[in-house]
Point group: C2
Chain length 505, copies 2
């Protein structure tokens, strides 16, 4: 123990970094197996891929739960208390302890039971949705709710059992705080959506928008956001997603539809996710802190680029002439004003994934309310369809014709992933707060977007959000970036202002 490295008392910190690098590498490898499966794998590779992924996940879990890792974390935390220790050492030890706690508190039998329940539930959900037959899915959802209540029971320190589920997707978020934020959001959104519904709708765009040209334009826009040809890829996938394999190996995916421009907006969305991962401090590479801190913060990035930028007037003042040149038939005779209105249509609909910027969060609030009630035990699974349909009527004024277009539309519950949905709307809320802060701090932002220059915004987001990786938990990150706690008002102000102008409210 006489090497220069050990002399300064960071033996455990360095050893911990090595172990975490291994865990990070295993996580990245699993992510690559997933990217490959969704984009390039031949169809019949699926069975083998399931086995491969299961093996890697088991190895990763074994390494994360290894008792010697716990000892190393304790020793590293102790070292990190020394006055001259680098500040990251303490953060790394603290987050490693939290990850490890999550990985070890849930007993192996419960993990296996969840995997089994999920394997049964997915095909059952698929068939139930196909046949719009909730009764077929009901026992599976009951089982998943029961298992998630058991998971929550493994974390008795939380004030509310749903907090334990939420926390794994959104560290620091609580049921109480989300409930409060969502209540205020709902109060603001419902009258806004109603007011818009009274105005004449924008004229829809008429395609076709040939896919090859959409790819060209999508890539040009992606590059203006920060996509780099030697460090990013874009591929097709049935369900678009973004996956970073490294800060300089970022992979986004898209799905194209000749009838509309949804593919281009999906690219903007996924590039927003990718920019987050690409912008993390290189010092956090392979530390397990070098990824996005939460699903909500991640979604705030994708939403900012897709909505606040991608559906804004200044952005299209630059890009619309190019879009008209690329789609002369579809857009040649459409003035920018009409185009801008048509990409900002607001209309209460049945399906979350098709929802617009104003109604989207209401779909999420509905799911959050039902999930909390299921975990609290105040709602029986059998009563989910009725509760769903009632809320759709109350919040969006639409009648649900069948469960296929209602409570059977999403796959998430068949995975038992309760606590995931709220992060989608938290992303919207945070994007509203970030946008307000960016407008305050970057006075030339609109002019830059009008000139096709996104670098100012990208660098601001990198500095305030991306750079930190998991160093700061979402509440702290948000406070540092915007000066406020979670607050729906900036999003509501932004939407009110935008739609008042667009719809003469």
């Amino acid at each position: 123990m006489s090497s220069p490295e050990s002399a300064n008392g960071r033996v455990a910190a360095r050893a911990l970094r090595e172990r975490l690098a291994e865990l990070a590498d295993l996580g990245t490898t699993i992510a690559l197996l997933g990217w490959d499966r969704e984009t390039v794998m031949p169809e019949r590779g699926a069975e083998s891929r399931g086995e491969l992924t299961a093996t890697l996940e088991r190895l990763a879990h074994e390494r994360a739960a290894d008792p010697t890792l716990g000892d190393l974390i304790d020793a590293a935390a102790l070292e990190a208390g020394a006055p001259d220790a680098p500040p990251d050492d303490g953060v790394i030890a603290r987050i490693a302890r939290r990850d490890r706690d999550r990985a070890t508190r849930i007993p192996g039998e419960l993990v296996v039971a969840i995997a089994r329940a999920t394997a049964d539930a997915i095909p059952a959900w698929m068939q139930a949705r196909e046949e719009s037959d909730f009764a077929r899915f009901r026992p599976h959802l009951e089982r998943q709710v029961e298992l998630r209540r058991e998971v929550a029971g493994c974390f008795p320190d939380f004030a509310h059992p749903y907090d334990a589920l939420l926390d794994s997707f959104e560290p620091g978020a609580t049921t109480a705080s989300v409930r409060d934020v969502f209540a205020r959001l709902r109060e603001g959104l419902v009258p806004l959506v109603e007011a818009i519904a009274e105005r004449p709708p924008p004229s829809p765009l008429h395609g076709p928008f040939p896919v090859a040209e959409q790819r060209t334009l999508g890539l040009e826009i992606a590059r203006s956001f920060g996509f780099e040809d030697d460090a990013w890829r874009i591929d097709d996938a049935v369900h678009p997603f973004a996956q970073s394999i490294a800060r300089t190996d970022v992979r986004v995916t898209a799905r194209w539809n000749e009838a509309d421009l949804s593919g281009i907006f999906a690219v903007m969305h996924e590039v927003g996710h990718g920019l987050y991962e690409a912008g993390i401090d290189p010092a956090l590479d392979r530390t397990t802190l070098g990824t996005g801190v939460s699903l909500g913060i991640h979604e705030s990035q994708s939403r900012t680029w897709e909505n606040q930028v991608g559906r804004s007037r200044p952005f299209w003042e630059h890009w619309y002439p190019r879009a008209q040149a690329v789609f002369p038939e579809a857009l040649g005779d459409v003035p920018l004003e009409d185009f801008h209105r048509s990409i900002n249509v607001v209309r209460p609909t049945l399906i979350r994934v098709d929802a617009d910027e104003a109604t989207y969060a209401l779909h999420v609030i509905l799911r959050f309310e039902l999930e909390v009630a299921l975990i609290e035990g105040t709602l029986a699974v059998a009563d989910v369809p009725a509760a769903w349909n009632e809320r759709m009527r109350d919040m969006l004024g639409v009648e649900v014709p069948d469960d296929r277009h209602g409570c059977l539309q999403d796959i998430h519950w068949s995975y038992g992933e309760l606590g995931y949905f709220p992060t989608y709307a938290l992303g919207n809320v945070v994007s509203g707060q970030l946008w307000a802060a960016a407008q305050r701090e970057l006075p030339g932002l609109d002019a830059a977007l009008q000139a096709g220059d996104c670098s100012q915004l990208r660098e601001w987001l990198r500095r305030t959000i991306h750079h930190h990786g998991r160093r700061l938990d979402p509440p702290e990150l948000l406070r540092e970036a915007t000066g406020s706690d979670l607050d729906p008002e900036p999003l509501l102000d932004y939407l009110r202002e935008k739609y008042t102008a667009l719809y003469d409210l």
Copy 2:
């Protein structure tokens, strides 16, 4: 221990299969990391990819060297001796012991020293080749030879130190047997090549062969060989290779050149490799026996499809009209006879990878002779250029202008991979033996190829070679498939017959 599975005494066999499945999955994952790197990875992902791969390789090595695996192999071997034990159990235990022996006999420090020497040698080789400056590469090659002699020293049971190196690529091959086979091969090839050199050469083809059309035709031919759209992929790569991720996820790569049809022949070659992996008995999946048994046998498959099939007259009797339709400008006025001659040009050249079917093995024999002498210590690294150039003169009658076109042309020695080269020519030899056997056993083979039907040959190769995976070592496999030991005569007969007809010898 009262479950039905354990009651029949196969506790250890089943446990061993589980452990080997994990090792197989790790190997497959490493292969996928490599495929991804060579085909789709963004350029700047390289640094991170190196770390990822190193982590996975270290994990795989740890698991392979785990002492409890050794105990399990012993226990499984004991169980496999029982009269009612399934025959595969014994083979699996035997091969697992051999793999483990290889993985553990080389001390960790030597593995690290090789990795370091290789990391230094590769850039040195690149620069040396660029500048045609052997002196720059010399110390690195000296170090690699020294380290490989140490590796050989870890396996004192072999009769010759080079055997230990050879055996890791070609189980069962010995320096003595390869020396003998190569001597006879050389004796047959040198006069054949000389005789052809006295005849007028075929007129060369004149392109261009547009790449898009080459891809189309290449895929059509691949499908006729056995490429299946839902279980295979074809991608571009700088150095074409084949990689199976699973029996039903086989990935081949190609490089295209508008000036000639080399891309199509590369596809035939790589599909030959892929068919081997795709044809292995599903019972061997994830047992570590479910891959090709050796590099030589693998190469025999690629050579069979590229040469014996892909450069044959019957094959092109079916495909040439299609090729003419695809390349009307280049081939429209070229009769089949001229085309067939032009794809069978024989010409002594300096570069191995550009060599034709008749001269190729001579390049390999040269390397084998030098490698054996280097390991024996009868040739000093400093004398490699002179020895190389002398042999090129003797065997091929060509003068080497500089080391860049001589002993610096291949990357293999910078990896220290001595023992690898001979497998290329062993592949040629085996393909000759298999072709003779197939002609004997499949009397309608030529007619089938003339009709574009490759299924007869593919199924015969599957039955005789592919199916066995690593169950049989190459010498045994060859004996079962052809009735003979390694023998260059069938290859020589095939070449003599072919070129006598083509060149009026």
